[in-house]
Amino acid sequence: MFKRLHENGAKKVRIFVDGAPTEVPAGETVAAALLAGDDVHCRTSSVSGEKRAPHCLIGVCFECLVEVDGQPNRQACMTRVADGMKVRRQQGAGGGAA
């Protein structure tokens, strides 16, 4: 949905989104990395199951909750990518406790 204006220079890290590897500039947030893709939804609502995507990008709305390295409910807009990071779109409340 978004594109990077230029890619040269920036150091890249590899993250996995739902298992698929993708190269993103170091220092980017997980939300920015997701928004640079085609399918920007990051979770399904724990109430209705409808798809949700990052909305405010300043840590207020909590729409961008994803699973990061097995931890559910991480705010993608407040989390920076790291090499090898595993990001999963979260289904409902997230299955962490079970």
Partner: protein, 498 residues
């Protein structure tokens, strides 16, 4: 919580935007030991986000973002040079009226205390509940600008901007310059606003240059082929699992546009919650239609140890926030005995003048861009107000019909405001819908009471928090984490073995 604790510093400033940076620099310059606590890794806040990275290494983005943004580099530099400590990537989840703070950062949760606290946590975009506003592809306009500043990203799908306010034209112009213009701007500013705003125009002439700059942007945007439609009402977002179409009305005529991305904006509102949690008095602002902390010209609040500065007190913009931060920082130095009142006042003269000058144009902008009634109190019963718990406007009207006097009872009845955003996204709309249903002013209906923790903290982080020894001792020894000797014997629902 802080009565028994020795202070860790003279001054804690919360927030790394213009107000916070200026406050910290001004206070540190007068010799206060100053800590600036901010959620972001680098100074700048939202308005000057990533300013050091861009002014240092991305001339392409610096050009797109413009001189007003580039101005922030000097602020960040002055802060870096001030000697204030920068506590980055750290959130405040608890604040009390005596300067006690609960923070959470890379090293976990801890308690600390400052002799004085300046809350400078800025603003958020006013949530604009409309049918379909939770669809992927509907984003805050500010979020798009954040992506530009933070990641150098611009939209590459058919995009429309829906909303009202100066940021609409600033971001549109930036996207034009980045080669990614939106297809259209659907301007939701009510047509009747201009009549009211004209009266305030004389007071805004001190900022005539800024007004003319705005008009130049609009010309530039139009020349780039962006359609600007005015008087847009009744906006709905539709699509199956993602935005496909924006439907709206102009003068009663139904219209629509295909779009994969809609960037929405209805102005910004103060983040009043942190100061309120500290017990500071909060009041309703009938012009800006938001809650704000009651404060004097120096940012002093109803709580002795707490001051506020910048947009979290009332929307004034970046330059006014910087000036207010300086005032609060100087006042902290005065209150903590570093400078006398005369010195404070002489150092503060220019900041006072700046604030007075900017107040004129602010009044004009407030009246010109006053949100439409349908944004403040969504008329469609199916519109979600609470995105987290998915509570509709109709549900809130229904509990108003049961006699719910205010948002706290409505929250209890419906779960609106109980999700992870803690009511920040639905609070204004819930209070306004209740007020309209009851036929009373919003001020009378009130706002959600804030519940700590104000930022997410895990159970583990709470259990393992540092710096709490004094509080534990004062209570006569709660468990310290090693044994279970303090478990109450048989507590049940109401505390009764009896």
């Amino acid at each position: 919580m802080s009565g028994t604790r020795e202070p860790d510093c003279d001054l804690a400033v919360i927030g790394g935007g213009p107000a916070g940076l200026a406050a910290a620099a001004a206070a540190a310059a007068q010799g206060l030991s100053t800590v600036l606590i901010d959620e972001q890794p680098v100074p700048g806040g939202q308005i000057y986000r990533n300013i050091e990275g861009i002014s240092g290494g991305r001339p392409d983005l610096a050009r797109i973002l413009g001189d007003d943004y580039g101005y922030g580099a000097g602020l960040a530099q002055a802060f870096r040079a001030s000697g204030a400590t920068h506590m980055a990537e750290t959130a405040v989840w608890e604040l009390d009226g005596a300067g006690g703070l609960g923070v959470i950062g890379p090293e976990g949760a801890r308690l600390m205390r400052a002799r004085r606290v300046i809350v400078a946590v800025g603003a958020m975009e006013r949530p604009a509940p409309r049918p379909g506003w939770t669809l992927p592809g509907v984003m805050a306009l500010g979020a798009c600008q954040t992506l530009l500043k933070q990641a150098g990203q611009v939209p590459d799908v058919p995009t429309v901007i829906v909303g009202s306010g100066p940021l609409v034209f600033l971001v549109a112009k930036q996207l034009v310059e980045a080669g990614a213009p939106p297809r259209a701007i659907l301007e939701t500013t009510p047509r009747s606003n201009m009549g009211r705003a004209v009266g305030a125009l004389p007071g805004a002439l001190g900022s005539l240059g800024d007004i003319l700059k705005g008009l130049r942007w609009i010309g530039q945007i139009k020349r780039a082929g962006v359609v600007i439609e005015k008087g847009v009402e009744g906006v709905r977002f539709t699509g199956d699992g993602a935005l496909a179409r924006v439907e709206y009305r102009i003068g009663g005529a139904e219209k629509s546009r295909d779009a994969a991305l809609a960037l929405v904006h209805e102005g910004v509102v103060p983040n009043y919650q942190l100061a309120e949690a500290a017990g500071c008095q909060v009041v309703w602002d009938e012009v800006q239609l938001c809650w704000r902390t009651r404060a004097d010209a120096w940012g002093a609040t109803s709580q002795d140890a707490i001051a506020v500065a910048g947009d979290c007190v009332g929307i004034g913009g970046a330059l006014a926030a910087e000036a207010a931060g300086r005032l609060a920082g100087l006042d902290a130095a005065h209150r903590l005995g570093r400078i006398d009142a005369a010195k404070r006042d002489s150092l503060a003269a220019e900041a006072h003048r700046t604030i007075a000058r900017l107040a004129g144009v602010r009044r004009f902008l407030d009246l010109l861009y006053r949100p439409a009634e349908e944004v403040l109190a969504p008329p469609d019963d199916d519109t979600l107000l609470c995105r987290c718990e998915e509570v509709t406007a109709g549900e809130i009207r229904r509990v108003a019909g049961l006699g719910c006097p205010g948002p706290n009872q409505a929250k209890a009845f419906t779960r609106a405001g109980m999700g992870p955003c803690q009511g920040r996204m639905c609070g204004l709309a819930v209070s306004t819908v209740l007020a309209r249903a009851r036929g009373v002013p919003v001020a009378e209906v009130g706002h959600y009471r804030v519940r700590p923790p104000l930022k997410p903290v895990t159970v583990d982080q709470l259990a393992d928090m540092a710096g709490i020894e004094a509080e534990v001792a004062a209570l006569g020894g709660l468990p310290t984490g090693s044994d279970g000797d303090a478990e109450p014997a048989l507590e049940t629902e109401g505390g009764g073995t009896r």
